[in-house]
């Protein structure tokens, strides 16, 4: 099953194969009595990034785009820099300003916490074990979740972002992290440092 979508006249247009149908099968207990049926299905979903498109197109191009509240009347959030990207300031609900945090990340990103896990849910595409890391940046009031693709995570260690620019998935998976000092030749296939 393979399909794609684009937007035409403000509507999704789907192309390819989808909605394949399989018959239900009976489920019986040890005595052979009918208990239920299997419920096979394959669904098609599309999803809008809306105002966050800048972040997701940014990481596909090797840049890390966050946002900043520039509303001088905002009592709490004024000049707060957000990563994850927030379209609106959570305090004053004014539209934020996009800021390029690539250099800040290269220079200041450190591991705030981490977790290594062998277990995943269905549809996972990452290699196991997954090394989750939470990355904090100088001057940013929030802490971004991501995954480490080289080395072992240690709280407080410096990391730098790498980007799946070769064949981007246009998801959060296009952004990963490696320890500071990792050589370009040691990057995972398809990933590169910031441009």
């Amino acid at each position: 099953m393979s399909y794609s979508a684009d937007v035409v006249e403000n509507r999704y247009r789907l192309r390819g194969e989808f909605h394949s149908i399989e018959p239900n099968q009976p489920i019986r207990n040890e005595a052979g009595r009918l208990c239920g049926v299997t419920n096979p299905r394959r669904l098609v979903h599309t999803h809008s990034y809306g105002g966050e498109y800048e972040f997701f197109s940014g990481i596909a191009e090797g840049r890390l785009i966050g946002t900043r509240c520039d509303n001088a009347d905002c009592e709490v959030g004024y000049e707060s820099v957000f990563m994850p990207f927030r379209i609106y300031c959570p305090d004053c609900l004014q539209r934020t300003t996009s800021v390029d945090l690539t250099e800040v990340a290269n220079r200041t990103a450190t591991v705030h916490s981490f977790m290594i896990t062998e277990r995943t849910g269905a549809f996972n595409t990452l290699e196991k074990p997954i090394k989750f890391i939470n990355v904090e940046f100088e001057g940013v009031c929030t802490i971004l979740m991501g995954y480490l693709l080289r080395g072992e995570p240690v709280i407080g260690d410096r990391v730098v972002p790498i980007f799946a620019t070769e064949q981007p998935t246009y998801t959060i998976l296009d952004l990963a992290w490696v320890p500071e000092g990792t050589d370009r030749s040691d990057l995972p296939k398809g990933f590169s440092f910031a441009k």
Binding site: I27, N29, C35, G36, N39, H47, Y49, E52, F56, V76, S80, F82, P84, R86, P90, D91, H112, S113, F114, M115, I116, T117, E118, R119, T120, G121, A122, F123, N124, T125, L126, I130, F132, I133, N134, C141, T142, I143, L144, M145, G146, Y147, I155, T171, I172, L173
Partner: protein
């Protein structure tokens, strides 16, 4: 730094008292291949009726509106599952609504139900919760649960919700646990305790007699969490009937006051900005000024180590119910022990221990029915039902199950319900030869905490014997 306005910190107030009249649980299991969800819901409602010597037919005459907690439509592949249950319970044409707040769904269902009575909209309501988690493979179940995280920023990362919480566990483990073996063993004690208490609960899914070493030898899920540190995936239902004073006393001689409050915090842990710790009535200004010196890294609040939503639910709930010190004023608690380490975090969020000192609640023996250090009754027993680790986590039902268990204690009927031979037989279980009545003697006030995932939603339910109320 985020701050709150005076209006946001108002102590919640009901327009009239709300009473817990009765409640009931179904049996809980990993799977019920031969039962429909409605059968489990009716089982829970029948338990509630039996508890006050009435029948569903009679009880339904009093119900005016209905509140249904059911977290994940995906699991049952049935949108509007609430409408199915409402129909099967024969409660049409009463108004009903579905409530979804992740792991806190059960508590949130009580929250909505209580407000309906408090406002005068209804004099008697049904709060019913359930979850059907056995009709998809476990890895698909994990994917569905991960869909409760942010679908763009988190879910693609492994499709495993446990991982999104586990980074909080790691931070707590390193800062407040100091990566000490003794702390690791304290975590394991919680798993041993709760699975052990489940042995005395016929409703429970996973009773186990295990040791700390068994927990430490179980497979790593996400270090330092091991399989036996983690809660269950369950199927089952629980319900409660809430009412105003007149209706409550018409239905039973011993209704209990119920107060339900709620807090929240960002869905993504990533978005949690630094703030001042909101203080509970048993804490003092300046108390946490040295927290970062004693526990380096622990000065960022709530950071990854505290659950602001739990703190706020307690903040509102204690003030509403007149509780000054949970360890003094409460007789038992049912906490949301999704993981042993999150249980410890919650001890601090709800003020049973100060921030940084959660482990001492276990190590002192205070959290046990009988303190293993002194053989005296535990100061504030926790999760005598077995909790989420030993009894169940049938998500939409969990917060209600906990409240029903508290109710049994306040009525002094814990042994009657859990020791009933017929119930053990009906569930096709062998009552243990060493079955123990875990009744907390003289219990008059109890707290149940219902909690979603990384702490996006938390409710605090306080149940009080009216003769021992503290708010007046």
């Amino acid at each position: 730094m985020i701050t709150f306005s005076k209006q946001q910190l108002k102590t919640p107030r009901y327009l009239r008292d709300v009473y817990l009249v009765t409640g009931g649980n179904s049996e809980f299991r990993r799977a019920f291949p031969e039962k429909r969800t409605e059968e489990l819901c009716i089982e829970a409602l029948q338990e509630a009726c039996d508890y006050i010597n009435t029948t569903p037919q009679e009880l339904k005459k009093h119900i005016h509106s209905c509140y249904y907690g059911h977290f994940a439509d995906h699991f049952g592949d049935q949108l509007l599952g609430e409408a199915v249950i409402h129909d099967r319970l024969g409660l049409d044409p009463l108004g009903n609504v579905g409530i979804k707040t992740g792991g806190a769904t059960g508590g949130s269902t009580l929250w909505e139900a209580a407000k309906a009575v408090a406002s005068g909209y209804s004099d008697c309501v049904l709060a019913m919760g359930w979850e059907r988690m056995d009709e998809v493979p476990t890895d698909e179940g994990n994917n569905y649960i991960a869909c409760a995280a942010d679908k763009d920023w988190e879910t693609p990362l492994g499709h495993i919700y446990t991982g999104y919480y586990a980074v909080m566990a790691q931070r707590y483990w390193q800062i407040f646990g100091k990566e000490e073996e003794s702390f690791r063993r304290t975590m394991a004690e919680i798993a041993v305790k709760n699975r052990g208490y489940a042995c005395h609960n016929p409703f429970a899914q996973a009773p186990m007699k295990i040791t700390v070493d068994d927990v430490l030898a179980s497979p790593v899920v996400a270090f330092p969490l091991r399989a036996l540190d983690c809660c269950l995936m369950s199927v089952g239902a629980a319900c409660a009937i809430l009412a105003d004073e007149e209706t409550a006393y018409a239905l039973t001689d011993t209704p209990q006051l119920i107060y339900v409050t709620a807090g929240s915090h960002t869905l993504r842990v990533a978005d949690r900005r630094h703030m001042k710790i909101p203080l509970l009535p048993n804490e003092e200004e300046g108390q946490y000024d040295d927290l970062g010196r004693e526990f380096p890294g622990g000065d960022r609040y709530p950071g990854f180590t505290g659950f602001l939503a739990a703190r706020m639910a307690a903040y509102y709930g204690y003030r509403m119910a007149g509780i000054r010190d949970p360890s003094e004023d409460l007789d038992l608690v049912e906490l949301h022990d999704a993981f042993t380490i999150s249980d410890i975090q919650t001890y601090e969020d709800v003020g049973i221990r100060p921030y940084g000192r959660g482990r001492t609640y276990v190590e002192s023996g205070d959290c046990y029915h009988t303190n293993p250090n002194t053989n005296a009754p535990g100061r504030l027993p926790a999760n005598l039902s077995g909790g989420l680790i030993g009894c169940m986590h049938s998500v939409g039902a969990t917060g209600i199950m906990q409240t029903v268990e508290c109710m049994y204690h306040l009525h002094g009927r814990h042994g009657e319900i859990h020791g009933d031979e017929l119930r053990w037989e009906r569930f096709d279980k062998q009552k243990p030869a060493d079955w123990q009545d875990l009744q907390v003697e003289g219990a008059n006030r109890a707290l149940a905490i219902s909690h979603a995932g990384v702490g996006s939603h938390v409710t605090a339910t306080v149940v009080v014997n009216p003769d021992h109320r503290l708010d007046k």
